[in-house]
Structures are given as structure tokens and as C-alpha cells.
């Protein structure tokens, strides 16, 4: 066959090698992913990188076609025909993927007009299957996605997994939001934006399209930091956007990433700015880098840096009437206590006098034993909604505005008090931002409670141990989660009677100082098992791994596209997966 092959890695004319400037690359350690060429595809075709996690059946078709074309020539009326790609015959047959308007909105662009020094997308390994070429959705794509989206079932066309993007880089973003509103007038749409396109006209447009809630990744109010660290060339639009959003009463939360080149004074100035303009929540993200992030970060030790950031947040937090959260929260909250992490200004919880640090011991007479139980009780009746990638936190469904009175038992300084709170208290409903978000399930009563592990995961793990009659088991977790897991095991004796070893699986695939469990991949677990066997000289008869690193894919695959079952195949050790959700904070 004289035509081009179906292999997207070579299908285009523009193939560029990826330059790996990481320190790890120089060492040539064996676990490094094999550097691959950046995938380019001809105009009109999709990169398969975007669907390997979300729709592996398409990749299976592609690979089978590629293989068969090596031995058989397709023909029409006896004449050879060239083939260089394929499309799905009936797209409606494939509209069974869990999705939402927020997810559809995500597809508007995979273009970002910033180039943040700390952008984790820049630190992705070269072989990470993600659509990372700048891509703007066509009008036909968005319309087709909307046509096949069923808001009742939350199903539609499969997602393309793309790098973090700026949706408003698509000049028709507001038009598409209007189309989405027509499709589902009451569905909450959430997204992440850097704010640099939020001009007065755009913000005004957004005001007519609620319910919206988004994560404004403002990062900094300092013009120098914005210019040099974020590479923001659009002046003070994002900083000014905060004021405009408040004027138009559009609710939002704010992200900061603390990074060595951003001064603490800027963090406080930024928090002051968003607090003054009534952002619902501000989240201070502790920066980290993979080994592939451009730049020299070998001396960046999070063990030194993160505690300093946390101490600074503690020093300033009481100056501002806004919940300030740390991400990852598991770095600062190493227990499961049902303690309030913050209260939204003028919310029913705020008006009642509930404060950060209060311990909730009952909800409507139900005794509360853990933070996750508290969250479940507060959101009783709420449906677990699909959260689009990158939109982290506080984006669950909109709840109907019926009368909802909640009786809270609160302990402070050893004294118990009882509060009666009305979710839609008229005194709160008239205020911004609570009035706009009172019906979002993530903001019940204005209480901010960060998530953590559930005790039900431990119960599941024990049931698996019993069912498999495990004699000696290995439980793998992440560096960040280990203290919480130990706390829970000690508290419950969940593994009493079993020889269970709990170990950390190192983030070797991403490397650098990454320590997040949800970024663990199959090869990290395989390595951890091998290391355990080498250290102890004994093979466990069962390995338990958390489900959350495989939660990005409905097909239960890791971020590289490998199914969790590969761990058992590669190690020869029986492996079971323990249900647990990715932590939002």
C-alpha cells in the first residue's frame, strides 16, 4: 500500500522531537519513560492521545486497522484504495459517556495564553497520553456534543483529554455558553479560567448565564509577578475581573499557586484583593514539579518550602473574612475529624457564629464521627456529579430551593452548642456570594469542609482481605495520604488479625518532588511491589491499591492509559483495587 499509515505519531508531516531538559533525563535511570516524539496529526484528524483514557475502544479499532493494513490491501471494485484514518460510523452509538455541560465547555480550547513557570502541564512526561497540541473546537464539534448530550442521564460523547486550557481563548465562548443554557437552563456550569479574557463585556454576558461557578486562577495581583512568572501579556484584566465579578454578582473561587518565585507578600495582597471582592473561597495550592518541568528545580525541596507557606497562611488567615484552604489539604489535615475548615461570609453558618475549627458532632440528631460522614449528612440527597478535569472542588449539582432546616451540634473549647440553621435564610440569600451559591450542594449552609479518606474504604479493604484469605498483604498508598491512613488504621484496628504492611508508592513516573497519590501510575505500583519483595525477601499474597489514581478514566486506567490489572500481570502478585474517590482538596 502506498498510502500513509494510520499511526498518528507519524501521520503528519510535522514531527518534532521533544527536548527533555530535566535533571532526571541526564541520569538515564531505567524507570524513565521512553521519550517519544510529540504527536502531530494532519488537519481534520484527532490525536488519539486525547481518547486513550476516555474511549480505549477507539484506540483498539485504530490498532487493529493498523495491523491488518500491514497484510491486506483494501479495495473498491477490485481497485486498491488508500486509507490513512477512520471515523466512527454512527456517533450516536457512542454517546454513552458520563459528561456534563461543564465537560463540553472544557473542550472549547486547549490553548492557554499564559506560560506559567509552575504549569504542571509543561512538566508532563513526553509519553503521557494527553492531547497537548493547541486546539480550538470547531463549531460543529460543540454543536454535535450538545446535540448528543442528555442532561437527565448525564451521558454524551466521550471527552478528549486535553492539557489545562483557557476556555475564553475561544472567541465564541459566551455564544457557546448561551447554547448550553438553552440545552439545560438549570444545570450548573463550572470551569477554570485565568481571567485574562474577563472584560466587562464578557463578565456582563456571564451574568445572564447563571448558574455558574468557576475557579479563577488569578495566582497574583503583582504586575511584575504576572508578567514574569505567569507570562501574562494582557495587563491587569484578570485582576480587574475580580471586581467586575463582584459587581455582577457572579460567584467564583480563587486559586493561588505558591511557588519559590512568588513572594509571600504577593500571596497576602492577592488574598486581600479577592476577599475584598467576595470570592467564595481562596485555595492556596502548594507548588511542586515533575522532573520534566523546564528550569532548574533540583534545589526545590517541598519538605522545606511547604511548611513555610502553611505557616504564612496561618499567620495571615484571620485577617480576611474568607475561607482559605491549603491544597493538598492532606498535608495539613492528617486526621478525619469533623472540623469546619471555613465559613462563607454572611452564610447561615456565619450568621449563627460558627467558625473555622468548630467540631460538628451531630447533624439533625445523627451523631457525626468523621469529616466524610459530615459531608454526606450535609449533602444528603445530593447526586454525585461528574466533575470535569481541572475544575476542582465545589461544583456539585444545583439543589432545589425548598425549606431546609438543619440542626447542628457544635463543640468549641469543650463546650457543646446547638444551632438551628436554614439553608435559604432570607438574611443570607440577599448577600453575595452566598445568595448565588446557597443551592449548590457543596456549599450547604456556607460550611466549608474539606474531604479526606472514607472509613468505608478501610472496611472494603478488610472485606477483601477476608474474602481472599490473605495471609500477608501489602497496602500501597502515597506519601501524603500515609499519615491519614495510619491514623485511621490505628483508630479502628481495621486490619487486626492480618499481617498487613502499609508502604508508600513513590511517584517515579512524574518524578521531581511530586507526592500526590492520584498521580501514581501502574509502573509506580509495580516498582513499589518489587521494592517491598526485595527489602523483605518475601512476596505478599495480596496487594491492595487505591482506586483513585485510576478514576480519571471510566475504564479504570492510569494516567498513561494502562489498566490497573497490568500490575498483577507484571508482578505476578494478586492485586485488588480498593474503592476510594480522588480527593478534591
Amino acid at each position: 500500500m502506498g498510502g500513509r499509515t494510520l499511526d498518528a505519531t507519524t501521520a503528519g508531516d510535522r514531527v518534532e522531537p521533544v527536548r527533555d531538559r530535566s535533571p532526571g533525563h541526564k541520569t538515564g535511570r531505567s524507570f524513565l519513560p521512553t521519550p517519544t516524539r510529540r504527536r502531530r496529526v494532519p488537519r481534520g484528524y484527532e490525536s488519539v492521545d486525547g481518547i486513550i483514557l476516555t474511549e480505549p475502544r477507539i484506540e483498539a479499532i485504530r490498532k487493529e486497522l493498523q495491523a491488518i493494513l500491514k497484510v491486506a490491501q483494501l479495495e473498491c471494485d477490485g481497485q486498491a484504495v488508500e486509507v490513512d484514518g477512520f471515523r466512527l460510523r454512527e456517533i450516536a452509538d457512542w454517546a454513552d459517556y458520563p459528561t456534563s455541560l461543564s465537560d463540553i465547555f472544557w473542550h472549547l480550547s486547549s490553548v492557554c495564553n499564559f506560560s506559567c513557570e509552575f504549569c504542571y502541564e509543561k512538566g508532563n512526561p513526553a509519553d503521557l497520553p494527553i492531547q497537548n497540541m493547541p486546539r480550538m473546537a470547531t463549531h460543529e464539534e460543540i454543536v454535535t456534543r450538545l446535540r448528543h448530550y442528555d442532561p437527565r442521564s448525564g451521558r454524551g460523547i466521550f471527552s478528549l483529554r486535553t492539557a489545562i486550557n483557557e476556555p475564553f481563548a475561544n472567541p465564541r465562548a459566551i455564544d457557546y455558553l448561551r447554547l448550553m443554557r438553552e440545552k439545560a437552563p438549570d444545570e450548573l456550569i463550572s470551569f477554570v479560567t485565568n481571567g485574562s479574557y474577563l472584560t466587562e463585556e464578557v463578565v456582563k454576558g456571564l451574568g445572564d448565564l447563571q448558574p455558574l461557578f468557576f475557579n479563577l486562577s488569578i495566582y497574583s495581583v503583582d504586575p511584575y509577578v504576572r508578567r514574569t512568572v505567569l507570562r501574562d501579556r494582557k495587563g491587569d484584566t484578570a485582576v480587574r475581573a475580580v471586581e467586575l465579578l463582584a459587581q455582577h454578582r457572579i460567584p467564583f473561587m480563587t486559586n493561588l499557586v505558591m511557588w519559590p518565585s512568588i513572594p509571600f507578600s504577593d500571596m497576602e495582597n492577592t488574598i486581600a484583593h479577592v476577599a475584598e471582592n467576595r470570592a467564595a473561597v481562596v485555595r492556596v495550592c502548594l507548588g511542586g514539579n515533575s522532573r520534566y518541568l523546564p528550569g532548574d528545580w533540583e534545589d526545590f525541596r517541598i519538605a522545606d518550602y511547604w511548611p513555610k507557606v502553611v505557616a504564612e497562611v496561618e499567620r495571615i488567615r484571620d485577617r480576611y473574612p474568607i475561607p482559605i484552604l491549603i491544597e493538598p489539604n492532606s498535608f495539613v489535615r492528617r486526621d478525619t475529624e469533623a472540623v469546619v475548615d471555613g465559613v462563607i461570609r454572611d452564610s447561615p453558618a456565619d450568621l449563627a457564629g460558627i467558625r473555622r475549627g468548630d467540631r460538628i458532632h451531630s447533624v439533625n440528631g445523627v451523631a457525626i464521627g468523621s469529616r466524610m460522614q459530615l459531608i454526606s449528612e450535609l449533602r444528603r440527597g445530593a447526586k454525585n456529579m461528574f466533575r470535569p478535569p481541572g475544575v476542582v472542588g465545589m461544583t456539585a449539582q444545583v439543589h432545589s430551593r425548598g425549606r431546609e432546616t438543619v440542626l447542628l451540634g457544635v463543640r468549641r473549647d469543650g463546650v457543646d452548642r446547638t444551632y438551628t440553621l436554614e439553608r435559604h435564610d432570607p438574611r443570607s440569600i440577599g448577600t453575595y456570594p452566598y445568595g448565588q451559591i446557597s443551592s449548590f450542594d457543596d456549599f450547604v449552609l456556607g460550611l466549608i469542609v474539606t474531604d479526606t479518606l472514607r472509613y468505608s474504604s478501610l472496611k472494603s479493604a478488610r472485606r477483601i482481605l477476608e474474602h481472599r484469605k490473605a495471609r500477608r498483604a501489602l497496602v500501597l498508598t502515597s506519601e501524603l495520604i500515609l499519615p491519614i491512613l495510619r491514623y485511621m488504621i490505628d483508630k479502628t484496628g481495621a486490619f487486626a488479625g492480618f499481617d498487613v504492611h502499609v508502604r508508600v508508592a513513590e511517584n517515579r513516573y512524574f518524578g521531581g518532588n511530586i507526592n500526590i497519590g492520584d498521580l501514581l501510575v501502574v509502573e509506580d505500583f509495580v516498582h513499589a511491589i518489587g521494592q517491598f519483595v526485595e527489602e523483605t525477601g518475601d512476596t505478599p499474597d495480596l496487594v491492595l491499591i487505591p482506586a483513585s489514581p485510576f478514576a480519571t478514566s471510566p475504564w479504570v486506567r492510569d494516567l498513561t492509559g494502562k489498566p490497573w490489572t497490568d500490575i498483577e500481570r507484571l508482578t505476578g502478585v494478586p492485586v485488588e483495587i480498593v474503592e476510594c474517590s480522588p480527593l478534591v482538596f
Binding site: V71, Q73, V81, D84, G85, R89, H467
Partner: protein, 78 residues
């Protein structure tokens, strides 16, 4: 009646029987039949393209025997 705990027993497994001699078998050479069946099934799921445009396909030939044309859908009218 309540549902049993999801971890308490083995999950039900749907099992499907293979035919000893598939009714759809139309070509004596099993290797060629393998390829024909693959094409038949793939073309029910997808449409081949060239330069982004659909390509009409009715048969195939083995690279090592290009003179022999094998119909993918034997039931198709000539």
C-alpha cells in the same frame, strides 16, 4: 429484601459460547477468513478515510497475493 454486600461474593460473569464452525464462515482458508471477519466487523463500526474523506471499500487483497480479490461482505449484491 436487601442487596448483598458487593464484596461478599463472586460477581456474576456473562459467558458466551464460541461456535465450533461459525455460521458466517465463508472462506476455506482460515487466515483469509480471519482477515475478512476483521474487516467485516471493523467496517460496521467505522468508516475508512483518506485525506479526511470517506473511502468506499468492498473487498481486500493479501499483500502477498494481490491478484486475488476477497469480498468483505459476501452477501452484498455484485
Amino acid at each position: 429484601m436487601s442487596l448483598p454486600d458487593d464484596q461478599s461474593g463472586e460477581p456474576y460473569v456473562w459467558r458466551f459460547l464460541l461456535d465450533e464452525k461459525p455460521a458466517s464462515e465463508v472462506i476455506a482458508d482460515p487466515t483469509v477468513e480471519l482477515l475478512r471477519v476483521q474487516w467485516e466487523q471493523l467496517l460496521r463500526l467505522c468508516v475508512p478515510l483518506h485525506d479526511g474523506q470517506p473511502v468506499k471499500v468492498s473487498s481486500f487483497a493479501l499483500m502477498r497475493a494481490p491478484e486475488k480479490h476477497i469480498a468483505i461482505f459476501p452477501d452484498d449484491p455484485e
